[in-house]
């Protein structure tokens, strides 16, 4: 499944534009990055795709999924898309997971909402999903608050991928995590989307993250795409000043030196 965003603009009620004329494409099974500083509008784009924009904002343009403009769909149809074709992972897993439900209840939620499975089938799928994200079945009965940040984010990924979505939106999935947990979560996102043949739209402010996980990327600045291309080329030869600045900043916070 591919997603094709054409001339997407997002405006506030008072007429201010937050995202201006953004066109962006994720082909089936492709991993694409969307990079920009905070306030650049990158999260609004993911929310427009999911259909969860704040009520004070309006999206114009087209978001085509398999040729269907999902901006024109009813609220019910869009809800059906979330958790089946589309899934999302957010920055703060503890805010995304229901704190009064156990890990297995959280992970099972999309199955419960969108699929008619028996209790036993659901349990098997949940345990499989936890295994795939590298979590031991012992954790299944814990509550989110009893997990580390990295573990909680894996639970969120398990929940996102349990319904075998065709496109995974990941909005700053590693920003709240430690260096090692960041690496594990990135590796997981890359390998799991690959296994399932799902596309990935990875939203981040950090080229270090984008460079490790994506094949192509778009650079967003003040609501507009200023540059796009193959990630490795864009990193090696950024054209726009803004992109150069982001690349330089990412280089600065990476470990330099040859050995180790």
């Amino acid at each position: 499944m591919s997603i094709d965003i054409q001339n997407l603009s997002i405006t506030l009620d008072d007429g201010r534009t937050r995202v201006a004329d953004v066109s962006l494409r994720v082909n089936a099974g492709e991993r694409v990055g969307l990079i920009g500083a905070s306030g650049s509008g990158k999260s609004l784009i993911t929310r427009a795709i999911l259909g969860t924009l704040p009520r004070t904002m309006r999206a114009e343009g087209r978001i085509l999924v398999e040729g269907v403009d999902i901006l024109q769909l009813s609220e019910l149809d869009r809800a059906a898309m979330r958790g089946t074709y589309l899934a999302a992972v957010f920055q703060n897993p503890l805010a995304a997971l229901n704190p009064v439900r156990t890990v297995k209840q959280n992970v099972a939620l999309p199955l419960k909402l969108h699929y008619a499975l028996t209790r036993a089938q659901r349990r098997d799928r949940v345990l499989q999903a936890l295994e795939r994200v590298g979590l031991s079945p012992d954790l299944a009965s814990r509550y989110p608050s009893e997990l580390s940040g990295g573990q909680a984010q894996r639970v969120a990924i398990a929940e996102a991928l349990i319904s075998s979505p065709q496109l995974l939106l990941a909005d700053e999935p590693t920003t709240a995590l430690d260096a090692l947990a960041q690496k594990h979560v990135m590796d997981l996102l890359v390998s799991l989307t690959g296994e399932q043949g799902a596309g990935l739209l990875l939203v981040s402010h950090d080229f270090t993250v984008i460079s490790k996980a994506t094949q192509r990327c778009y650079v967003l600045h003040d609501g507009s795409v200023v540059e796009s291309g193959v990630t490795s080329e864009l990193l090696a030869h950024p054209q726009e000043d803004y992109t150069k600045e982001l690349v330089a900043a990412a280089h600065q916070i990476a470990v330099k030196g040859e050995n180790a």
């Binding site: 905070s38 430690d178 080229f207 900043a249 990412a250 916070i253």
Partner: protein, 230 residues
Amino acid sequence: MSILSLNHVTKRYRGSALPALDDVSFSVGDGEHVAIVGESGSGKTTSLNIALGFDVPSSGDVQVAEPTTTGLVFQNPAASLDPRWRVERIVREGVPGVGEADVRAALEAVSLDYDELAQRYISDISGGQAQRVAIARALVSHPTLLVADEPVSAVDVLGKKHIIESLRSVQNERSLASLIVLHDLGVAQQLSERIIVMQAGRVVEDGATAEVLAHPQHRYTAQLIDAARW
């Protein structure tokens, strides 16, 4: 001569089997720039709290040379700066005899413009600017030791860059020592000449930054380096 040292500090919290700190010793020399690196739960923030006197060790002791003035920077500027105060008032707080010129100089030290920012509220400036305001606030009392807890992890990459540059210029231009807690070795490489790596409440590595990065002795350090590589 060291201005701060922890000697065989162990910290146990009631109700937890493992100690949060297990026989931790390290020191910060006069004018030395030290980073403590580790994951959350490694004990790096507990060490900092004990060094600052916010928490008391279960055993072992902390020594601070006289006279030492400490400047303090927290992780998240949105939480550590009062949202209903203007920048100027924030920077001045609690330091008697500070005038406009001192605030101006402190802001300048972190490349912020007094005329542009002094009368603003935190919600009206970027996260990177806000964190530099927090650094200016720490500098205004002319500290001999600057202590910072994860000063770059709550802001985006451009903010990080500006904060790192500001901290570096402060380290170069002011005669102070620094103790900075980080989870990212890439940032530690920029901000320290010595690195202390902590894991599960213990110091697993302590050495010159270049040496630790080039020849990590501990497997955990090597993993951290790998995670922070470009």
